[in-house]
C-alpha cells in the first residue's frame, strides 16, 4: 500500500471537515470505550489477566526462534507447509506461486492486516487472480477501493447511507436494484452475494490472531464466521501471519483470548473462534487439501532485543485507537498507511521508515489513555517518544522546532537569564492583555490564537518575583 503518512497534516485537515467521517467517529468514540469499560468491570481478574497476557507475549518474544521452529515442526508433521518470508515482497511472491500452483482464479480472503501491510490484493490482481474480501467491512471498502481505517472495524469511517450507495452501485448488476436503508437488509444482501463467492473460490486466505507452537494450530477470531467458510470450502488454505503471532500453548491462547475480545469490542469472546490444525485428514468430511502458513518478518526481527520489542506484544485489538482522542478526531485514513492510531504511530515508522512516518508519533498529546487500556500493556507513549528521539538524533525534526528548542534550552540552563526572560515576557503579556486579561492574537503563537484566546498573566510579576518580594 502506498503511504501518504508524509502528508499526515493535510490528511488530518481533510478528515476534520469530512462530515460523514465525523458522524461515524462520534459513534465510535463512545461505543467501543464504554463497552470495554463494562466488560472489564464484569471481570474482577481483568487487570491480573492483562499482566499474564503481557508476560506470555514477552516470554514468546524472548524465545521467538524456539517457538517458531516448534510451530514449523508441528505444522510439517500434520502435513502442512511453512514458508518463511523475510520481506513483504517474499510473502507476495510465495502466495502468488501457491495460487498459481493450483490454477487459482479467485481467492476468498478473510480479514488480514498483514495482507494490507504487504499490498497483497493489488499484487494478485495484477497477476489476474481476484481476491474477494469476505469480512463485511473489508468487503465494503474493497468495493470502494479504500484502505481500512481501523484494524478491527475497517469500514468504521463510513455511514450506513454511504454503504447503501456503494451496494446499489455494485450489486445492481447482480439484480439487486433497490436501495436499502436498514442495516439488516444490507447485511443480508452482502451475505447472499458473498455466499456464491465462497463456493467458487479456489483458495482461502486468512490471517491469524495466534499461532500455537505446541499444536501447530493457527487461531482466528471473527464475529461473522467468514473465516470458517474461507478456510473450509476452498481446496487450499493459506494462513498469512507475522512472526510475532506465535505463542507457546493453547493455555496461553485462552488467556489472550480473554483479554482480546473484551479490549476490542467489549464482548466476552468473539462469536467465532477457530483453530486450524493442518490440512484435511483421511476421513475428515471437509477442510482444505493443502494447508500453508506464510510467516512474515518484514523488519520485525530487527527490533527483538531492543527497547522497541514491546511493540511486538500487540494482539491487534484496536483498543488504543478506540480510546485515542487524536484518532477520534481524524479517523484512521489520515495516518496514511495500514496501521492507524497509537499502535500505528509506533509500528509504521518501524515498517516504512521514520522519514516517511515521522508525523505519526509526533501527533500525540501523550495523554496515555492508549497505554491505560492496552491488554498487553504496551507503553505506547514511551515508544512514540522513542521515535521522536530517533528523529531528533537524525536531524529530521523540523528546523524551526530545533531552533526554538535550542534557544529555549539555552535559557533554561541559565536560571538567572530564565528569570529575566520570563519576567520580561510576563510584563509584556500583562501590558498587552491589560484590557481583557487575554489576547485574540499573538505574534509567533498563531497556532494557538487561530482557535483560542491567549490568557495573559495576573498583574504583579512572575511567581518568582512575587516570592522574592514576600521573602524580603
Amino acid at each position: 500500500m502506498q503511504s501518504t503518512a508524509r502528508h499526515f497534516k493535510d490528511n488530518a485537515g481533510a478528515a476534520l471537515v469530512d462530515t460523514n467521517l465525523q458522524d461515524s467517529l462520534s459513534k465510535l468514540k463512545t461505543g467501543f470505550s464504554e463497552r470495554r469499560r463494562q466488560a472489564a468491570e464484569r471481570l474482577p481478574e481483568f487487570e491480573a489477566l492483562r499482566d499474564r497476557a503481557r508476560d506470555i507475549k514477552n516470554h514468546a518474544l524472548e524465545n521467538l526462534d524456539f517457538y517458531l521452529e516448534e510451530f514449523e515442526r508441528k505444522v510439517t508433521a500434520l502435513g502442512g507447509h511453512v514458508h518463511w518470508a523475510p520481506t513483504a515482497e517474499d510473502a507476495r511472491r510465495i502466495i502468488a506461486e501457491l495460487c498459481k500452483g493450483v490454477g487459482a482464479r479467485t481467492i476468498a480472503k478473510s480479514k488480514s492486516m498483514i495482507a494490507e501491510e504487504i499490498g497483497l490484493n493489488e499484487h494478485l490482481e495484477a497477476l489476474g487472480i481476484t481476491p474477494i474480501e469476505t469480512d463485511l467491512g473489508e468487503y465494503i471498502i474493497q468495493l470502494r477501493h479504500e484502505p481500512p481505517s481501523h484494524i478491527i472495524a475497517p469500514a468504521v469511517h463510513l455511514t450506513k447511507d454511504q454503504v447503501a450507495d456503494t451496494f446499489l452501485e455494485h450489486h445492481s448488476k447482480l439484480g439487486f436494484t433497490r436501495r436499502l436503508t436498514e442495516r439488516n437488509d444490507l447485511v443480508a444482501e452482502a451475505r447472499y452475494v458473498l455466499r456464491q463467492k465462497f463456493l467458487d473460490a479456489d483458495v482461502g486466505l486468512t490471517g491469524a490472531n495466534f499461532l500455537v507452537a505446541e499444536t501447530g494450530s493457527s487461531m482466528l477470531v471473527t464475529n461473522e464466521g467468514n473465516a470458517d467458510l474461507s478456510n473450509t470450502l476452498p481446496r487450499m488454505h493459506i494462513v498469512l501471519a507475522s512472526i510475532e503471532k506465535v505463542i507457546p500453548t493453547l493455555e496461553d491462547a485462552a488467556v489472550l483470548l480473554r483479554v482480546l475480545a473484551r479490549s476490542a469490542t467489549g464482548q466476552e469472546s468473539s462469536a467465532y473462534t477457530t483453530l486450524n490444525t493442518g490440512p484435511k485428514r483421511p476421513g475428515d468430511l471437509d477442510g482444505p487439501e493443502q494447508y500453508h502458513v506464510v510467516l512474515l518478518d518484514n523488519g520485525r526481527s530487527s527490533v527483538l532485543g531492543t527497547k522497541m520489542q514491546d511493540m511486538l506484544r500487540c494482539i491487534r485489538c484496536g483498543a488504543c485507537m478506540n480510546h485515542c482522542p487524536v484518532y477520534g478526531a481524524i479517523g484512521g485514513h489520515a495516518y496514511g498507511w495500514v496501521y492507524p492510531g497509537p499502535i500505528g504511530a509506533v509500528l509504521t515508522p518501524q515498517l516504512i521508515g521514520v522519514e516517511e512516518a515521522g508525523n505519526l508519533p509526533n501527533a500525540s498529546t501523550f495523554c496515555g489513555r492508549c497505554e491505560s487500556v492496552c491488554p498487553v500493556r504496551i507503553p505506547l507513549p514511551s515508544l512514540m517518544r522513542h521515535w521522536r528521539e530517533r528523529e531528533f538524533e537524525r536531524h529530521l525534526t523540523p528546523r524551526p522546532v530545533r531552533q526554538g528548542l535550542a534557544l529555549w534550552g539555552f535559557v533554561v540552563q541559565r536560571p538567572q537569564l530564565y528569570r529575566a526572560v520570563t519576567a520580561l515576557a510576563n510584563r509584556l503579556l500583562t501590558i498587552l492583555g491589560r484590557a481583557e486579561g487575554r489576547l485574540h492574537s499573538l505574534l509567533l503563537a498563531g497556532g494557538w490564537t487561530r482557535f483560542r484566546d491567549f490568557p495573559t498573566p495576573e498583574r504583579g510579576g512572575t511567581f518568582h518575583a512575587q516570592w522574592q518580594r514576600r521573602r524580603s
Binding site: L16, T365, F366, C367, V401, F451
Partner: protein, 236 residues
Amino acid sequence: MGFAAVKLLENAGCTVEVPPLQVCCGQPAYNSGDRATTRAIARQVLDAFEGYDAVVAPSGSCGGMLSHHYPSLFDDDPVLKARAEALADRSYELTAFLVDVLGVTGVTARYAGTATYHDSCSGLRELGVKKQPRLLLDSVDGLHVREMKTPEVCCGFGGTFCVKYPEISNAMVGEKSADIVATGADTLLAGDLGCLMNMAGKLQREGSTLKVRHVAEVLADMGDRPAIGEPDRGGR
C-alpha cells in the same frame, strides 16, 4: 495560583521554600526527543531540590516528569539514577500530596457556584490523581461539583502538540468545551495550568463566561482572584 498552593501547604503545617535555582522540568525538550538537553535540565533540577523532604508541584504533568520520567533519563549513570530515583520518590502533585501524604481530608474555604473538574492526563494516568481533588472540593462551603460525561479525555493541549497540530488540537478542545458547557457549571477547575489555559482560551473564544481556575485557588479560599483570561482589576 502559586500562592494558593503555598497557602494550602502552609495551612497543612509545611514550611515552603522555592529554590532560586529552580527552572522548568524540561518536559518540552523531553517530549520533542531532545534527550541531551532534557538530561542537562534534569541535573539542574536534581541540584535545586537536593535536601528537601518533599517536592510538590501544582501540576500533574511537571510532577509526573519528576516522579515518573526522570529516573529513566539516567539508565547509564548509576549515581545520577539513584539521585533521580530519590527525587522521584519524594515528588508529588499538590492535591495528592495533601491527601495521600499529609492526610488532609478537608479545607476551610468558601466558593459559591457549581464547578466541573477536568482530570489532566499526566496527573490522572501517571500519578493516580482522581479522588484527591474531589475529596478536598467536597469540603468547600457553597461549592457544588457536577461531573462532565468524559472528564478523563484529553483536552488537546499536549504541550507543543497544540501548536504543531493546531487543527487537531482545536477539534479536541472543541469537544472538551462542549462537554464542559453541557454540565451547566459556572466554573471549570483542573490541576494543570497548560490544560487550563487551553480550555480557558477555547471557552472564551466561543464566548463562554465560565470561570476557569486552578483547583488550588478554590481550595485555598482564593476564588475571588481573577480567573484565567479575566482582566485583573486589583490594585496591587
